[in-house]
Structures are given as C-alpha cells and as structure tokens.
Amino acid sequence: MSGGMGNRSPPFWPGPRRMGGFGAPGAPGTAPGRGSFTPSMMHDEPQVARDDIIKGTDDDAIISKLSAVNLGYLDDPFVKYFVKRPSRRPPLINRGSYLRTRSLDTFTEQFIKNDITPSSITTTTTTTSPTSATTQSASTPSPTTTATAITPAAGIKKQIVSLGCGSDTRYFKFKAKGLSAHKYFEIDFPESTAKKAVVIKKNKAFTDIIGDPDLRLGLGGTELYSKDYCLLSGDLREFTESIVPKLKAQGFDISLPTLFLSECVLIYIQPGDSDAIVNWVGTNMDASLFVVYEQINPTDAFGAMMLRNLKARQIELPGIHAYPSLKSQEERFTSRGWQAAKAVNMNKLHESLSEQELKRISSLEIFDEVEEWQLLADHYCVAWAYQAKPQQPEPRRSQLIHLLANAVSS
C-alpha cells in the first residue's frame, strides 16, 4: 500500500472516520455483561449494542475524573476504585472534568445545606409566575407569607436522585464531609449497577461511609440497599413504569424536596423518554430541583465535528437536537409548568470561578489551549429548573420554593 506520497486507501473508504473508530470505547476490562438482562432490556440487537456504548461513556468519564483528581483539580478518594487503568487526559479535558464536577457539587451542596427558617421566609420569596430566565428569589416578599404563621421546619428531609449515575462518587464524597441527604438514590443499567455494587461492597472505604450494618444486595447483585443510600437498576426509558415503583419501594417520598441530577445522561436517550421523566417529576413531586449537564450546539463547525467524531465511536446524542441551545434547555422545563429555569454554558461557569480558584487550577499544569477550551466549553451547559406543586398549602409551598431557589443562587 505504500509508494508515492502517503498511504493511500482505496478511493472510497466507507468505514468509520479514521480518528474515531479505535475499537470499542469501553474501558479495558469491560466485557459487555450480557448475562443479566431484565425483560425490559430485551431490545433488538442494535439497541443492545447502543446501550453498551452508552454504558461505555461512564468508563470514559470516570477515567477523565480520575485524571483530574490525580492532578489535584478535584479531591475525591473514591474515584480510583472504579478505574483499572488510569490515564492522564489533556489539560483542557482535566479542566472541563473539574468544572463539571464542581458545578454539580455546588448545586448538591447548596441543596443539602439549605434549610427553611422562619426568618428567611419573611424576607424573600419567589412569585409564582413562570419565567424562563429567573433563577434567584426576588427580593419582594409575597403578602401571603408575611401574614401567615410560619411553622419552623427543623431540618427538612431531602432526597437526591442521580439518574444514570454510572461510577459517580458524589454520595460518598459528600457524606465523608458530613453532608448527606435523608435519602440518596442512584439509578443505572443493571450491568453498570452490578459493577458498582461489587466495588462498594468489597471496599471498606465505601461501606464505612454507608455505615449501615443492614446494607444488603438485591436483584442478583444489581441493586444495593441501605438506610440513606440505594443503588437501583433500571432503564430510564421506562422511568414511570419500572423505576418509580422501585424508588417508592425503597422509601422514596414524593412529598420531600428532591434534587434530580442528570450528568450527561438524558442526552443519550430519545427526547420523548427524557421528557417523560421531566414530566413525571414536575407533575408528581411536591418540590423538585432538576439539574442537567450535557452537550449543546450541534450545528456549528465544532458541534458538527463533535457529533461526527462521537458517531465514529458509535456514540449518538439523540437529545441534542431537541434541546440544542441554552434557551431550549430552559424551555424544556418552563414549557412543562416548571417554575423557573436557567441554562448557562461552561464558559460562563468558568468565568465565575473566583480569582483564587482560577489561579489554583492554572498552577496544576500548563494550559495552552485557550481558544480550543472556549470552543469546547461553548458546547456544554448546565441547566437547572425547579418547581413546587401549586396545589400545596402555604406556607409550605413558599418554603419549598425558597429552599430550591436558594440552592441555585450562585
């Protein structure tokens, strides 16, 4: 094939683009676990293959996270248990992994820490008119709240639901620092949760954090139950039919304020299915905060190239065309009756780092890709929205709204 200049392939090469198709994107040591199908997993072959690819994205993400941890961007002693072959990522990937984790951590921390006190209710509250751009509580108090007697809620119980959790370590990381919710639920495909359950059960670092002598496995090892942490297996495309019942069976309470996290998850399923989740949450939960981190902007040169490159690794982003912009990410919620929604891209989040923090991460490694970073960061967003069911009595409803609004004020 050599001779003349360059290696010439046949005139038309129909295969995957050269840069993308380097075998399966899964991490080393990941054999697609085909042994533990639940009936809902019996899709046609291509779908099964696609699901394996989706699961593989967690492997990619966790390696990136560990790279950031090892270089000092992030502090997380739990990530390393999920990575067989660590690998150092390029600086801009480390920076982005840091930023994504930090952003979602900030939401989670504020959500957990926020409480409801009588004094805070009288000073600020949100109005009930849905807008697409407000995030923070307005400063004008609503007449209804000041007039009503407020029952102090001592440490209101909260829940966190991590959709498509993969190898995420947030529960452990937070609890190690003394931050925990009443209940933390993680959900993913059985093959993924089975692997995670093994790591958790096998390592004292994890079981010590859970700290529940009644910690037990279930469903053939694909689920794990404890007092404040549950790992559940399921298919997010069947959220209402199969996941909701499981949640409820483990003590999930729709009356408690709940944070739903989707960290590069909803983007991988059809918009109809992700809408169904948003709809269910909006309709059934008394108060909820939904935080989404995912790709946007598929149509500019960089976005189009991103889709092509991912496609060559057989990774598709079915959700991206439905919610391709910051505005549409907000409307995703506000059009479904959510109170307030806001989306910002990663550049905005990067800009809002304190000078001190920016200096700290800049000192960790050489960073010579400012333009490329900005391009990449333009194509990722964090979108959040909150709602509290209108049928609830005051002051409860205002309390809940206040709690949620404060969680996103940053």
Partner: protein, 356 residues
C-alpha cells in the same frame, strides 16, 4: 554511516519512521547548521509561510500539495510542529530533514511547543515513547529545539515570530542579543516572543490568559513597526476558525495551518503565500480528504524505514520500556494507582476526547 537525506525524506513522505540512530545524526547535523543562524534570520520573498501544524502530518502533506514541494517553493514555518496531533514524530522528522537538505529554502522558527515542559504535557513525549520505546528521540528533538531561531524578517518589511511581541523588546537588535540556546524560560523576552497574543481590543500590553507571555494592543504594534521600519507582523500561535486572521488595519496577521485542529475544532487552515513584490495571499484549505488518511488499524501501525512494523519491537525497542517513563520529565507521566508497565501512557491516546 553515510546519511542519505533524500532516502530519509522519501521514507518520511510515506510515513515511515527513521531509525533512532538516524534521527540522532540528523539532529546533530541540523544543530550545527542552526547554530550559525541569528535570532533574527533575514530572508527574501517569494516565500510561503506556514503556521501551527501540531503533528497533523496529513495536513502537512496537503500543504506541500497546494503550496508546492521543496525546494521549488521556499518555506517559512512559524513553529508548533509537535503535540496534539497523532504524527508529531513524522512531522518534525520530515521538517528537520528538509531543513538539513535545503537549508536556504526552509526556515524553522521556534514555537512555544518546541519545549521540554510543553511537550511533556501535550503529547510529543508520549508519542516518542510509543513509537520508539524510549525517550531518546524526544531528547534529540528537544535538544534540537533549543537551536531554532526566534524570528525571521522578510524583505526587511515583515517581522515573523511564533507568538508576538514583548514589553522588553522594542528593536530587532534587542532580539539578536538574547541567548536562545536553552529551554524556553517561564518569562522574559524569549518566552514572550513565543507565547504572546495580539488583542485588538487593547492598545498596550496586558496579562495573558495563557499564563505566559502577554497580550499586546494597537499602540504596541504601531510603535514596533515604526521603530523598526517594517510594515507587518506575521505570526501564528492562535487557532483561527477561518485559517487566518488580519488585525490592526492589516498591520498584523495570524496564519494557522492545522485544519480541524485536534480533529475536533472543525476549522479551516491556511498558508500565506508572499510573492516577489511582497503581495500576500492566504491560501485557505480544509482537512485532507478522509479517503487519503489511514484507517484506524493502519494508524496504529508504525513502520520503520526498513519497513519493519514497530509492533515487532513490542513495548520496548530494546527492552528499556519503563525506564524512560517513570523517570519522565518532572515525573509528569506517573501517578498513583497506575498499573502495568506503560506507566500511565494513555492507551486511548488516539481518542478524540470530549466530556461524556
């Protein structure tokens, strides 16, 4: 050994790597050649100026296709030959050979990536380890980089540098007295020349977001050109979606020659063709067509110039794998929990990374 440069060049055009000993000799000879170059090399038009290439070997071939081959076309390369792309070794090998073969037709300026510190982080070191099994080739090239000139002046009118201007440098003569034969420092005039960026929104110097060098504005540009009696600054260093950018009322331009940079940015690239009368034309091009690039399997195979696939050397090229890795510069390649003898070298090095 008698060095047959033409044979080397031909092998490299077929993306066959040169043997380590050949690289060593070529680097030695090129250093001797470069040693006698001033920090400011004066050349005449016509010349074709090339910006960042970053190991995108197939796009370098494209550049020769559209710009013409050496020695028929005179070339000025503005640095950043290595890192980020998959073929930094092949790219710098062929450019070094061309410089050695046609010293008056090829000019190589130093970029900020021609540095030990930067290449340890951005891929060239890793690529050398992967393709040769030891860090020797990386050492040969990074030693060579210390000899690359810092700037070129075309027809006494166009000042060419990789990055930009420095608050410490007002005249060309000040550049000439820099001791360039060393690793690029963290700061100072030499660092500024390879790291700085223009800022059309400003007039003076300001702190650079890159953490090295400065940004410089319109007054700085005008002053420099006036003081040195030149009419244009030509540089690279910054990604341009359209392949080039012209600023400050045509007093400065950026040429960027890595299309679809990192196989991710979707940008165009260009080369700047300067004619005999000094007329400037940006020849814009896209990434080389897909059907002219190797398949993934082919890309993984690296051939040596004797045609022997690199895989026959397994992970060691002499069994010294690991020796150079753990002891990599600044310990950059090792970290906690790394298993296996590859010392943390990314097996998925060739993956185009996103956040998933």
């Amino acid at each position: 050994m008698v060095l047959d440069l033409d044979a080397c060049i031909e092998s490299l055009f077929q993306r066959q790597l040169l043997a380590e000993s050949v690289i060593k000799e070529i680097c030695e000879k090129t250093k001797e050649l470069l040693m006698s170059e001033s920090n400011v090399v004066h050349i005449k038009a016509p010349v074709t100026v090339v910006g960042d290439i970053h190991g995108q070997f197939y796009d370098l071939l494209e550049i020769f296709k559209i710009g013409g081959y050496c020695p028929d076309t005179n070339y000025l390369f503005l640095g950043d030959y290595v890192d980020r792309g998959l073929y930094s070794v092949e790219t710098i090998s062929i450019l070094t050979c061309l410089k050695l073969r046609y010293p008056d037709r090829v000019q190589l300026v130093r970029g900020n990536h021609e540095s030990r510190a930067v290449t340890s982080t951005y891929g060239f070191y890793t690529e050398c380890m992967k393709k040769y099994g030891t860090s020797d080739v990386w050492h040969y090239f990074t030693d060579l980089f210390d000899y690359l000139t810092l700037s070129v002046v075309i027809d006494n009118m166009i000042f060419c540098v990789h990055g930009g201007l420095s608050p410490s440098i007002h005249t060309i003569d000040q550049i000439k007295v820099i001791d360039r034969f060393k690793e690029i420092p963290h700061e100072g005039p030499m660092a500024d020349l390879v790291w700085s960026d223009p800022d059309p929104g400003r007039e003076e110097f300001a702190v650079s977001p890159r953490g090295a060098g400065y940004t410089f504005g319109s007054m700085v540009v005008e002053k420099f050109l006036h003081e040195n009696r030149m009419d244009h600054i030509l540089r690279a260093h910054q990604l341009c979606m359209e392949g080039f950018q012209v600023l400050f009322d045509d007093q400065l331009s950026t040429v960027w020659s890595a299309p679809n940079y990192c196989y991710r940015c979707g940008n165009l690239a260009s080369i700047l063709e300067i004619g005999v009368e000094g007329e400037r034309h940006f020849n814009v091009f896209e990434a080389a067509p897909e059907n002219e690039r190797p398949t993934p399997a082919e890309a993984q195979r690296t051939l040596f110039s004797n045609g022997v696939p690199q895989s026959l050397f397994s992970n060691g090229g002499g069994g010294s794998n690991g020796a150079g890795v753990g002891g990599g510069p600044n310990g950059a390649m090792t970290f906690a929990g790394a298993s296996g003898s590859n010392g943390g070298i990314d097996p998925a090095q060739d993956t185009i990374h996103y956040f998933l």
